[in-house]
Symmetry: C2
Subunit: 211 residues, 2 copies
């Protein structure tokens, strides 16, 4: 008997998943949760072997819930089951300790198989997701800003906000001359000619917090 918990903020998705599992005699649904916080208390109480977990939820993400659960209950097999579109979260999910990663496009058979394999200690990764993971381990394509030092990166982010050297010196508590030195180094490393181009670079490469 495999005890399973289902976590998703959409009730209809939970019902859909459960309809997949209800026909399987060796699987027992021990509970549902509609939030990350709810998932933690549910799983720590019911101690299911497997958790099917969505990532995007309103109260506490699946990532945080996964970390919390594994801290108290490390044997738990957490299967991330999410949409294709939030692929930035694939890697954080793996780091958080997720055991498998499947998509909501999965069929009933695929979900059941993922659960059975999880109990057997086998990880299941969707091919599309696996491809994205592989890229992480392939030799990274080098971005010009990789060679910026930490301080230079801070200055670049300020430039990306449109700040002047004076404002940056006040923001970072350093002298204007120092800022100028950093800026010169940044322009050189990014292979641009002035701060405006550096600002454009920073914004296009997502180096600025504020969108």
């Amino acid at each position: 008997m495999i005890r399973v918990a289902v976590v998703d903020d959409h009730e209809m998705v939970r019902k859909g998943i459960i309809s997949y599992l209800i026909t399987e005699p060796e699987i027992e649904i021990v509970g549902e949760a509609n939030s990350g916080n709810g998932a933690v208390s549910l799983v720590l109480e019911k101690r299911p072997e497997v958790v099917l977990m969505d990532l995007l939820m309103e109260n506490g993400t699946g990532i945080d819930a996964t970390k919390e659960i594994l801290k108290e209950y490390p044997e738990c097999k957490i299967i991330i089951i999410t949409s294709f579109y939030d692929d930035e979260q694939v890697f954080p999910a793996i780091e958080a300790g997720a055991f498998s990663y499947i998509l909501k496009t999965a069929t009933a058979e695929e979900v059941v198989r993922a659960i059975q394999k999880a109990v057997a200690g086998e990880t299941v990764i969707e091919p599309k997701v696996a491809n994205r993971m592989m890229k992480r381990f392939r030799p990274q394509e080098r971005k010009p800003h990789d060679e910026l030092t930490e301080r230079e990166m801070e200055v670049l982010m300020c430039i990306g906000e449109g700040m002047t050297n004076q404002q940056i010196s006040e923001e970072l508590f350093i002298g204007i001359k120092t800022v100028k030195t950093h800026v010169s180094n940044i322009l050189s490393k990014l292979d641009v000619t002035d701060r405006t181009q550096a600002a454009v670079y920073a914004n296009r490469n997502g180096l600025v917090q504020n969108q």
Copy 2:
């Protein structure tokens, strides 16, 4: 008897929705589709009163499917049922002729009610979605760059590319002095202090072709 079709590329979501409806005696599921194209042929064949339609699908979006269906079968009540996150598509969906717009966070009761109301000719719009719609009809919030002249907009796009005044004058075949005049006017109208901030503005507001 209300005849209903369910369209979503995720089987588990379809099963979840169907589990909501299967208990309702006056609702009959006449078919499922997992793509926009499939939805069109299904609906035109089975002629359900109501269609529950997801927007994001692999083969043909829900928007296109909605248009296609209504072209041949305009009495059909199409209820969009999608995630909260693809809100840019709310307006296109309404324009395409969708009858109601609910979210995947909806409970079984809400889905059933939306179907019943659709048959009765009443539209259901989720409050969160309705708020976004209202903004469309409220006096448009004026973006600072709306008051830029055509020429000033061209200059701003050049600034957004990181070009100097010299380069802009060559690009637009005008004198540097003219460029400076435009730049001064742009800075004033955008309420920024220098070209770097203008470049940041242009990039953040999607005024530049190249991403």
